[in-house]
Subunit: 214 residues, 2 copies
């Protein structure tokens, strides 16, 4: 079905409501959206004319668009994280807390990885670690990053071949903002996977799927 | 297919590699994982015996598990965010920055919503706002939250009926950590949707799907 129509946010909400509760009256759809029936008239006309909804007198609205819309589990969850990981922001163990905060804002990231000259991971500093450190006082120009970082081997890490689903499980279970990605069998940082990146990935895949379907 | 087997992380990685590159030799699988061929022998036996993989002499391994594994787009992306939103942590505009930081740590959240007595949203304070404020100095016991918050109407908000996909789009496009959920047509805060919650939701759905399939 090739549609040239871009549905509005409200129209997409109506479709979702009808899918869940069909058959459903126009009045009930309006109630769900805290809107009046006349306000919805135009949207319901558009959705009926484009074939997304079907209206039966005295019964209500039905969903009439493509009935089955399936995503591939393999494509969405089983790709290796190497395909979506980001470049890490590395700092030295001797970087001051003050410079770490500047670095965090400059790069607009949530966490910094502390590494040695060979890019081997020593530890991780999160926004929360920096906030704790700044509120506790002390001279931020004197304190080293290595003093406030979460230190290896206490950092949860992963490797490039791990499935997106398994890396997501680690982020969720350990309640961390990001996972340093280390080359298999080494301590060398080759990437990072953040909650933000993973969330954006799932949303992008959903949008792409929806667009291809229309 | 009802399997009593729990595959290890490495075995799941092998399955994913075979799915992508079949037919593939044992040596190539080992190379992907930076492991030696003998190390993998046991895993490959288990995967072949359980019927997940099929081995053809001189050709390589094939994936022989359930070939089609589809997720429902509607179930994953089109449910209203009311089904997954969290309870918001509300503070007053007169809460000091110091108390706001304490509140953030106590509740272990990434952002606080500033609301009036009627729970109407006035603004939002993120971990980043607090970090900026604490590093800039000044008396944290004197400064009010209302001075450092992102103020309405500059806050990106949403409503309970919005689809998970559309709320995810807002989080991604506006690069915010959370969306206050306001009752339709009002300023009243009824929930929040965070990047963390959304990421965890997608991961949970993937794990659930995989478990039900096995």
């Amino acid at each position: 079905m090739a549609l040239a129509v871009e549905f509005t946010k409200r129209q997409r909400e109506i479709i979702a409501i009808v899918k869940r509760e069909q058959p459903i009256s126009g009045a009930k759809i309006a109630a769900h959206l805290n809107l009046t029936r006349p306000t919805l008239r135009n949207d319901l006309s558009i959705l009926t004319m484009t074939g997304m909804l079907d209206a039966k007198p005295k019964v209500g609205y039905f969903y009439a668009g493509q009935q089955v819309a399936n995503l591939s589990f393999e494509a969405l969850y089983e790709a290796p994280i190497a395909t979506i990981m980001l470049a890490p922001v590395l700092i030295k163990p001797t970087t001051t807390v003050q410079d770490a905060v500047t670095n965090l804002f400059m790069n607009d990231v949530g966490s910094l990885y502390v590494a040695d000259e060979q890019q081997q991971l020593l530890g991780v500093i999160s926004r929360k670690d920096l906030l704790r450190s700044t509120i506790n006082g002390g001279d931020l120009r004197q304190n080293y990053s290595s003093l406030i970082m979460t230190r290896m081997p206490n950092v949860v890490t992963t490797t490039p071949n791990v499935r997106i689903l398994d890396a997501g499980y680690l982020l969720k279970e350990h309640q961390v903002d990001s996972l340093p990605v280390l080359a298999e069998g080494t301590q060398k940082v080759v990437g990072k996977l953040t909650k933000t990146r993973l969330m954006a990935y799932f949303v992008e895949q959903g949008l792409k799927f929806e667009q291809e379907r229309l």
